[in-house]
């Protein structure tokens, strides 16, 4: 049996889709501020990449030291249900275990991110902001 992950395209005639390297699908940048820790997420959040994002968020919670945590999802091109589960879990962690009011998430009404968040009702669980400045100003 061929190794899993190879794409076979019986329709033919199209160039082979390069399998994206896992590292390219998601990147997370961490910025420290006196009163806040901001994680800027870029790329796609699905079953393949969510584990790494969970680890990064867990590390951020551990290093918060009384500061506010902000997840910036403006550059996220895709947010699937594994990412939605992660956001629910992170919000619960923030409120129930870290004494935070809520999990602050930045989404600029970008449809690929806002739509799934609204579908599952995450918009009433998260504190949503249109940009990082607004999230930090509170």
């Amino acid at each position: 049996m061929k190794p899993a992950g190879d794409e076979r395209t019986p329709d033919g005639g199209e160039h082979a889709v390069e399998r994206p390297a896992r590292e390219q699908l998601l990147t997370v940048r961490r910025d420290e501020y006196p009163g806040a820790l901001v994680l800027t997420v870029s790329g796609e959040v699905d079953g393949l990449t969510v584990t790494r994002l969970r680890h990064t968020v867990a590390e951020a919670f551990a290093d918060l030291d009384g500061r506010v945590l902000v997840l910036d999802l403006v550059k996220v091109a895709f947010l699937g249900s594994p990412g939605l589960r992660m956001l629910f879990d992170s919000a619960a962690e923030a409120v129930h275990h870290r004494g935070l009011e809520s999990l602050r998430v930045v989404v600029d009404n970008s449809r690929p991110v806002i739509r799934p968040i609204q579908i599952v009702g995450l918009d009433s669980v998260l504190a949503l902001y249109e940009d990082v400045a607004a999230a930090l100003a509170v």
Partner: protein, 184 residues
């Protein structure tokens, strides 16, 4: 083939958020744009059942729908819906948890097939797309754990019609889109 273990039909209910309007959001194409590849009437992709399959499926579905001049708002929702169906196949069909597969899991993985076709819908040349996502792994109902139902909820909100046919031999999901205007 055995009788289905679980099979249900879901018609769209009013979503909590109004579906995006398509008419204001058509991209402008320069006249005589012949660069994009000829729209294929049918999509057919066979993928190894591992976590990267959803990402590959998204790319192929997006490319195919763009070739059909599908409205951008609906296109994003269909990419999301198909991605969820593929992820479900990988996770539930083959029992793979999230994250990179162990070597042993990769060797045992099966395949997930994504097919797409256009279907006429009513008058004025409106059309739907219908996606079929199937795997050959066993289906088990997602456990009633916290957050488990999100994939199905998301799929239901993104399409007009959803059929999930789960059998011991594998699962088939059929998604039919909302109607879209004819290609220009």
């Amino acid at each position: 083939m055995g009788s289905p273990v679980a099979s249900y039909r879901d018609f769209a209910h009013t979503p909590p958020v109004p579906p995006p309007s398509d008419r204001e959001e058509r991209p402008l194409r320069p006249p005589g744009d012949q660069q994009r590849s000829a729209a294929r009437p049918v999509l057919h992709v066979v993928l190894g059942a591992e976590w990267v399959a959803a990402s590959l499926a998204r790319d192929r579905v997006r490319h195919w729908l763009e070739g059909l001049d599908w409205p951008p708002a609906q296109l994003d929702e269909l990419v999301l819906a198909v991605s969820e169906a593929v992820s479900n196949s990988v996770e539930h069909g083959y029992g793979m948890g999230p994250g990179p597969p162990a070597l042993e899991e990769a060797w045992q993985a099966g395949t997930v097939t994504v097919e797409g076709r256009t279907v006429p819908s009513g008058a004025d040349g409106f059309r739907c797309v219908e996606f079929t996502v199937c795997d050959d792994g066993g289906w088990r109902e997602p456990a009633a754990e916290r957050g488990r139902g999100h994939g199905l909820l998301v799929m239901r909100a993104c399409v007009d019609d959803l059929v999930v046919d789960g059998r011991a031999s594998g699962t088939t999901v059929v998604l039919r889109s909302r109607p879209a205007p004819p290609a220009r």
